[in-house]
């Protein structure tokens, strides 16, 4: 029996107290570790620099909201912008619809529009063009430099089926949508207006889309999205009538009227899809549709823009900054600013909390071992009588505290990664991208000796009490 075995035996004797003390250390350590992982790895997930495009165009307002809504499909859409902006960028026509020179000519490699505001079974629906999937309006494959990517030069690919036609009620769904909703090729669905809460009556649109393609995993938020043709978005009766109303209001208020802030206005309808008396489109013999809403009234939520070069990207941003109805932001810059602004403060706050938890844990070590020492005066005296020196007794008590710190610290690190794993699952569900929760950082291993040192320090108080235990007095009786 050596000193170490003796300490382990004594810790086992006071199992409940030891475990509870260990638990308090563990919680502090787990909190610090998980905060470290989230602030370290979260930035790499959210503040990626390569989104496949460089400029995100949207309504004037919060750039962060625009990025969160368009790229991560969270938060509400900040509003709409005129469709003609997209046309100017995508067609590179010499003059804009208003007859003025197209300011974006020569600046844009490709542009993809996005309109949001509907959902299906809690998954967001994004209206766009087939170009997002590298397909032209006639179904032709686009030149490589015109194919949008979602980062790392990777283009969207199909696990099953194909891209939708630009003017049919067809849909392409992300792999997680397929898994979660059971939609497959040939399945049909109705869009629900907005993203109703659990207690809301869903406003289901009458139009029916047919799934024609299922994407391969991209590990981006797009895995959780249903894509529909932009034209079909305007074919939704409520959208068409809503946009018409907005246009009337704008005309009445004069050209100075601010753009609408709602994504897609709609009238309240019963839960079940109801065929409107008048449709917002006409069905052509070839199965395509023609929407009734004039193009000049079309609005979209955002445009993903790939500039011709870094220089034209700056030029584009400058032009957009001077437009009354839109802004252009770099998603990488927006997310980096967000993280640099908020994450250090949040991380600092969490670190302060975890430090406090660790200090409280250290105090609990102190109290627990102090009480145990007070109750073990006779045992300490017996050991002294058997030849244990004061220094050995002091070391034994400190070692016990250190062991509690070590055990709590090591399990706490593992628990912190387990917390991060749980957070990763949550993020995976929310954004289709998780955290690399298994990554160990040197900072975590630096925190461990600090926790052990704090534990040893906490053990020093009861250790000194044990050190001073009078032997003769405690042996009598």
């Amino acid at each position: 029996m050596n000193l170490f075995e003796l300490i382990l035996k004594q810790m086992r004797q006071r199992m409940l107290s030891t475990v509870l003390t260990c638990l308090s250390i563990l919680l502090g350590m787990a909190l610090a570790t998980s905060v470290g992982i989230v602030s370290r790895e979260g930035k790499s997930v959210f503040a990626q620099t390569d989104y496949g495009f460089d400029t995100l165009v949207g309504p004037k307002g919060s750039p962060l909201q625009l990025v969160l809504n368009t790229i991560f499909h969270i938060d509400a859409s900040p509003g709409n912008i005129p469709y003609r902006l997209y046309e100017d960028m995508a067609t590179q026509r010499p003059t804009s619809a208003d007859g003025k020179p197209n300011p974006f000519r020569g600046l844009v490699k490709w542009a993809v529009p996005m309109a949001v505001g509907d959902s299906y079974q809690g998954r967001r629906i994004v209206a766009t063009t087939p170009q997002l999937f590298g397909v032209g309006d006639q179904g032709e494959a686009l030149p490589a430099d015109k194919v949008p990517t979602y980062g790392g030069g990777r283009a969207y690919t199909f696990a099953q089926g194909r891209a939708f036609a630009p003017n049919k009620f067809e849909a392409v769904i992300g792999p997680e949508v397929a898994k979660a909703t059971g939609l497959t090729i040939g399945s049909t669905f109705h869009a629900t207006h907005g993203l109703p809460g659990p207690n809301d009556v869903p406003d289901v649109h009458a139009e029916t889309w047919t799934v024609v393609g299922i994407l391969n995993e991209t590990h981006t938020a797009n895995d959780r999205v249903l894509f529909i043709p932009l034209i079909t978005f305007y074919a939704i009766f409520e959208h068409e009538s809503g946009l018409e109303q907005i246009n009337q209001i704008q005309q009445q208020a004069g050209a100075a009227g601010s753009p609408p802030t709602a994504s897609a206005p709609a009238t309240k309808t019963p839960a079940a899809p109801e065929e409107p008396e008048e449709k917002a489109y006409t069905l052509n013999p070839d199965g395509t549709i023609t929407v009734k809403l004039p193009k000049d009234q079309w609005e979209i939520s955002a445009i993903l823009v790939k500039s011709e070069s870094a220089a034209t990207s700056f030029q584009l941003s400058f032009i957009l900054r001077n437009l009354p109805e839109a802004i252009g932001v770099s998603p990488a810059n927006v997310m980096e600013t967000f993280f640099d602004t908020f994450m250090p403060k949040i991380a600092m706050l969490m670190l302060v909390i975890s430090t406090l938890v660790t200090v409280v844990a250290a105090v609990s070590i102190l109290v627990s071992i102090y009480n145990s020492v007070a109750a073990r005066n006779r045992e300490i005296a017996i050991m002294r009588a058997l030849g244990a020196t004061k220094g050995r007794i002091l070391a034994a008590v400190c070692l016990e505290a250190g062991l509690i710190g070590l055990a709590g610290g090591v399990i706490g690190i593992l628990m912190g990664h387990a917390f991060a794993w749980a957070g990763s699952i949550f993020l995976q569900r929310l954004l289709s991208t998780g955290l690399p929760w298994w990554h160990f950082a040197s900072g975590e291993l630096l925190y461990l000796p600090v926790v052990i040192a704090v534990s040893l320090l906490a053990g020093l108080v009861p250790a000194l009490k044990a050190y001073k235990t009078p032997v003769a007095e405690n042996l009598v009786g």
């Binding site: 029996m1 050596n2 000193l3 003796l6 035996k9 004594q10 086992r12 004797q13 006779r378 045992e379 017996i382 050991m383 002294r384 009588a385 058997l386 030849g387 244990a388 020196t389 004061k390 220094g391 050995r392 032997v471 003769a472 042996l475 009598v476 009786g477």
Partner: protein
């Protein structure tokens, strides 16, 4: 083996007005392997004297000289840590009550006595000692599962674990019934003889004292124990 000269220990009176002498031994000697019974009434300073001889307490003055390995060592001049170390290596101590650690088994309690010497714990020797005290079938029993007599026999085995030159026994049979007391005493005597260890056994029981080769009244060696002094 042991020589004591002018050993003095005082304690403060409860009211703090004076120092009360508890141990005042002008001279006392014990040969190697010699066994002696110290007879004294309750409060006569028997335990304090043993604590001084073991180095558990520090004397105010005097010498406590041990002849170990051909060298004389005055532990009264030792630091507390040196006394602890010396005690662990050369002195076995048996308390009136067993003073076993409740969380350890009988075998672990004996091994514990070895763990503070700096030497490697000798498990087979510990097992042998427990066999000798008739507890080979109770090696893994914790003290709570043993009778008082069995507990004291474990304490006897523990005292001899480090092959000490001297065993100090403080009323080792005081808390036992007559049969257990006799059995324990027999074991102490035979094990000390086998090990060649000296023995100082303090008791107030004349019948117990008579079983040792030499008996001394505490008053013969401790002037502070004289009834007239009123010391305790």
């Amino acid at each position: 083996m042991l020589g004591v000269r002018n050993l003095l220990k005082t304690f403060a009176a409860p009211d703090g007005s004076e120092r009360v002498r508890v141990v005042d031994v002008p001279a006392f000697a014990l040969g190697t392997g010699e066994m002696v019974a110290l007879l004294g009434s309750s409060g006569s300073g028997k335990t304090t004297l043993l604590h001084l001889l073991a180095g558990i307490l520090a004397a105010e003055s005097g010498e406590v000289v041990y002849a170990v390995g051909g060298k004389s060592q005055d532990i009264a001049r030792f630091s507390e840590a040196e006394r602890d170390h010396f005690r662990g290596q050369h002195i076995g101590y048996i308390f009136q009550t067993h003073h076993l650690l409740p969380g350890l088994t009988a075998l672990e309690n004996v091994l514990l006595g070895m763990s503070f010497t700096g030497r490697r714990a000798d498990r087979s020797w510990a097992t042998h000692l427990l066999e000798r005290v008739g507890l080979s079938h109770r090696l893994e029993y914790k003290p709570g599962k043993l009778s008082l007599g069995q507990q004291q026999r474990v304490a006897v085995a523990r005292a001899l674990a480090n092959r000490p030159g001297l065993v100090l026994a403080d009323e080792p049979t005081g808390s036992l019934d007559a049969a257990s007391a006799q059995q324990t005493l027999d074991l102490i005597l035979s094990l000390c003889r086998e090990a060649g260890a000296g023995l100082i056994l303090v008791t107030h029981d004349l019948a117990i004292a008579r079983q040792l080769p030499r008996q001394l009244q505490l008053t013969e060696i401790n002037r502070a124990a004289a009834p007239a002094k009123g010391a305790g």
